[in-house]
C-alpha cells in the first residue's frame, strides 16, 4: 500500500447502535485524522447502499444487526473491494467464526490500544483479506469442506479440514499432520485449536492430541486409535466415555 493511499483512508461504520457509531467516530477522529469517515450505516441494508455509493477502503462492520448479520451483508455484495474490521461484543458466538477465518475484529466499546493495533494492521496490510473464504465457509454444508486459516512464520496457512488427520500439541505450538504427509507448525496451542474445531468433527482424545473423526480407521479396544496415516494415538482414561459417545453419535 503506498503512502498516498495511507494518507487517505476512507471508512464507513455500519452498526445499528447509534452509541457505537458515535463512539467509534469520535475515537477515529481523535486518534486517526488520516481516516476519513465517509458515512454511517444503521443496518445491513443501509450498509450495502453506503458501500456501493461511497466505495470505502475500510469498513467497520457490526457482527449482529437487527436486519441481518455482518456476514450476510457481505455475502449480498457483488464484490468486496475493501478491508473489513468486524465489531462485536465480548464473547459473542461469532468470535469463533471470526477466529476460525483469521479475520480482524474489535470488541465494543473499543479499547484504544486494540483500535490502534487494528488500524496499524490495516495500514501495513498485514491482515490478508479472508472474507471471501469466510463466506464460503459459512455456506459449506459439511464442516469437513471448510477452510481453516492459521498464521505461520511464512504467512498464512489455508487448510481444508478434511485434509487434517490429527494435531499434536507442543506447548505454545501445534503440529498439524496432513493427508499429504506434511507436518505444519503453527503458533497456536492445542487448546486454541480445540476451541475452533470441537464442533467440526475433531476431538481432544489426549492432552497432546486432537484427532479428526474422518481419519479414524480403527478403534480396537477403546484406549487406542489408529489413523489413516498409520499413526497410533492413545485415548486418555478419563476421556474414554466422552470419546465413545462422540465417536458413536456425532455427525460431521
Amino acid at each position: 500500500m503506498s503512502n498516498i493511499q495511507l494518507n487517505s483512508i476512507s471508512a464507513v461504520i455500519i452498526d445499528d447502535d447509534p452509541f457505537i457509531q458515535e463512539l467509534l467516530k469520535d475515537k477515529l477522529n481523535q486518534y486517526f485524522p488520516e481516516i476519513q469517515i465517509l458515512g454511517l450505516g444503521n443496518n445491513g441494508r443501509e450498509g450495502i447502499l453506503k458501500i456501493q455509493q461511497l466505495k470505502p477502503n475500510l469498513v467497520f462492520l457490526d457482527v449482529e444487526m437487527t436486519d441481518m448479520t455482518g456476514f450476510e451483508m457481505l455475502s449480498r455484495l457483488d464484490a468486496i473491494t475493501f478491508k473489513t474490521i468486524f465489531i462485536t461484543s465480548y464473547k459473542h458466538y461469532a468470535i469463533k467464526a471470526i477466529r476460525f477465518n483469521a479475520l480482524d475484529y474489535l470488541l465494543k466499546p473499543f479499547d484504544l490500544e486494540e483500535l490502534k493495533n487494528a488500524i496499524l494492521r490495516f495500514k501495513k496490510n498485514q491482515k490478508s483479506d479472508n472474507v471471501p473464504i469466510a463466506l464460503q465457509n459459512l455456506k459449506s454444508k459439511q464442516a469437513s469442506d471448510q477452510i481453516l486459516i492459521l498464521k505461520t512464520q511464512q504467512g498464512e496457512l489455508h487448510i481444508q479440514l478434511k485434509d487434517i488427520i490429527s494435531i499434536e500439541g507442543e506447548r505454545n505450538y501445534s503440529y498439524i499432520n496432513m493427508v499429504n504427509s506434511k507436518k505444519e507448525l503453527v503458533s497456536k496451542t492445542l487448546s486454541n485449536l480445540e476451541e475452533l474445531l470441537e464442533d467440526k468433527g475433531f476431538f481432544r482424545c489426549h492432552k497432546s492430541y486432537l484427532i479428526n473423526k474422518l481419519h479414524i480407521t480403527e478403534n480396537p479396544n477403546g484406549s487406542t486409535l489408529f489413523l489413516s496415516n498409520g499413526m497410533k494415538i492413545p485415548i486418555s482414561r478419563r476421556k474414554k466415555d466422552t470419546f465413545n459417545n462422540w465417536f458413536n453419535n456425532e455427525l460431521i
Partner: protein
C-alpha cells in the same frame, strides 16, 4: 483526569455510573460529554421498557437481544457489577431457571433506573 473523575463522582454522589470513559473520550469538551449523556438518556429508557416487556412475557430471546445491544454502552458508563449478570443472561438465556432469570433481570432493571437518575442529575449540572 483521575482527580476530576473522583470529584465528579463524589459531587454527584454517584453509586451506579463512573464517568471515566465518558471524560476520556470527551477530552475536556463539555459538549461532547453531554452528547454521550444525552444519548444514554435517550436510548436506555426505551431499551429498559423493552426489557421490562420481554421479562413480563418471558421472552428469553428478546431479553438476550436487548441486553446484548445495551451491553457496550453500559460498560462504557462503568455501571458497577452489571456486565457479569448480562453476560450470564446472554449465554445462559435458554437454560437458566425462571426464578434466577427473573432475579437477574430485576437486578439489572433496578441498576439501570439508578444509573438513569444519575445521568439526568449530571446533565442538569452541566447543561446550561
Amino acid at each position: 483526569m483521575t482527580k476530576k473523575i473522583i470529584e465528579m463522582n463524589a459531587e454527584q454522589q454517584m453509586h451506579y455510573i463512573n464517568l471515566e470513559n465518558v471524560l476520556a473520550v470527551s477530552r475536556g469538551s463539555t459538549e461532547r460529554m453531554l452528547k454521550y449523556l444525552f444519548q444514554f438518556q435517550e436510548l436506555i429508557p426505551e431499551r429498559l421498557n423493552q426489557l421490562k416487556k420481554a421479562k413480563n412475557q418471558d421472552n428469553r430471546t428478546q431479553i438476550r437481544q436487548i441486553l446484548h445491544k445495551m451491553s457496550p454502552q453500559l460498560q462504557f458508563f462503568g455501571i458497577q457489577n452489571i456486565i457479569i449478570p448480562i453476560q450470564r443472561l446472554e449465554f445462559e438465556y435458554e437454560t437458566m431457571p425462571n426464578q434466577e432469570l427473573e432475579v437477574l433481570v430485576t437486578e439489572i432493571i433496578s441498576k439501570l433506573e439508578g444509573a438513569l437518575i444519575e445521568v439526568t442529575k449530571t446533565i442538569q449540572k452541566y447543561h446550561v
